[in-house]
Subunit: 137 residues, 4 copies
């Protein structure tokens, strides 16, 4: 199966835990966003650049399965996969893995490409698409 | 279709917005949690009491569909529905609606009932189940 | 001593606690902001209106003293005081008090009035000042 | 002036901005915590280890001066300084500096060393003190 995969590492902050002693479930979207942002930069088009040319990428769908908890100070690996060539939307899959190699969380997000000016969907910018295309041929 | 429904209102904080000028998608889990917490209190068993008797309720699955954005200072109505009588898990559905009656976001969460001591699944406490049962008969 | 005081109540969310089992110290700015926002609305000029006329109010200084912890599900009272008539800045003092009347946290914030267009300081809008003046005469 | 200084770099997440288009003022405590946590690890006693031996370190005082805003995707340098040899409390100073070398934010925090079991203040663990002592002689 063709796809583009990127791995990002991050360390859990104290303020991201809750009184169960684990990472609060509502903080994972921040981890996915950070990993996705690094994936985009690695593909040579930082998301910040995209906003500058008038394209925003709101999340329109997010599905998270929490299997095992993550803890304060652990280094987590977040794997991001672009599962098919994006058009007006991009679907990413995520796996969060701890230092022992245990899969903690799986997720899938859909983001839309939207014109800041018109609020309407736009096609993924060619600059980005041209980098992704080789992975899907 | 039998179900228990609860409506909770909350106001968007400035710090919950992001630079798109709308509520950051990763903050909705906090809204769902607040509404679910009030739903449980309204059913007469606050979640805080549950933790005191050694039962925790981690979120094991969360699916959110973002349709329209919410904005700073808006009063949002979060409708929570318990869609079937819980056993070792409880499934809730959510609708986030703004002051104009527009449906902004839909979600579904699954939470497990877990013994704090053993880490094993437990049946939903009878004190809570007895309150829910009439809605599903 | 002349001053304007406003009291706001809010309930602690689960996601606002950390693994010490208390409210994470970094979440209090959200509580102060919520109370300050309600104070402004109560004075008849919601902050959202202010932004619409091109005035933003960044926080330029914040000092918090944490004396006792707050816990999940507690209802906290946040008292906000405007200690003197604002000019290009407004100084607010805060007290966070729990349901047993215990003072948990004290704070002071300074916010500037800034023109969104020029980025320069501006005088507090007269619409707001006229509401505050009677408390300081 | 004797002191121990540590520099930590981090990148601003999208979810840490607010609708002013800059980092929300209430998110800086997370940055200070992350930098302080790395400073402690670098000194060879990770905070997580300290909690394991029954010592917690609540923040008892925090003072932040916001001079210039930070933006999404910027890499920030957080300098942490331990300004004197800690006893039952530790005072840290922070500077947040952007990629252009501009000082954005200054802060000072005081954390207490507290026994998890008794809730009482304790002396900073010797394992940590012995690492700090050379910087203050």
């Amino acid at each position: 199966m063709s796809m583009y995969t990127y791995e990002h590492k991050l360390r859990v902050r104290y303020g991201e835990t809750d009184q169960m002693g684990v990472v609060y479930h509502g903080n994972y979207p921040l981890y996915f966003e950070e990993a996705r942002s690094e994936m985009m930069r690695n593909l040579a088009v930082p998301y910040a650049e995209l906003e500058k040319i008038g394209v925003i990428m709101p999340v329109v769908d997010m599905h998270i399965r929490y299997m095992k908890p993550a803890h304060y100070d652990e280094v987590l690996t977040v794997k991001v996969q672009v599962v098919k060539l994006p058009t007006v939307r991009i679907i990413c899959r995520y796996e969060v893995i701890n230092e022992q190699g245990v899969l903690l969380t799986e997720a899938e997000t859909t983001l839309a490409f939207i014109s800041k000016e018109t609020g309407r969907p736009v096609i993924v910018p060619e600059a980005w698409l041209s980098k992704l295309r080789p992975y899907f041929e």
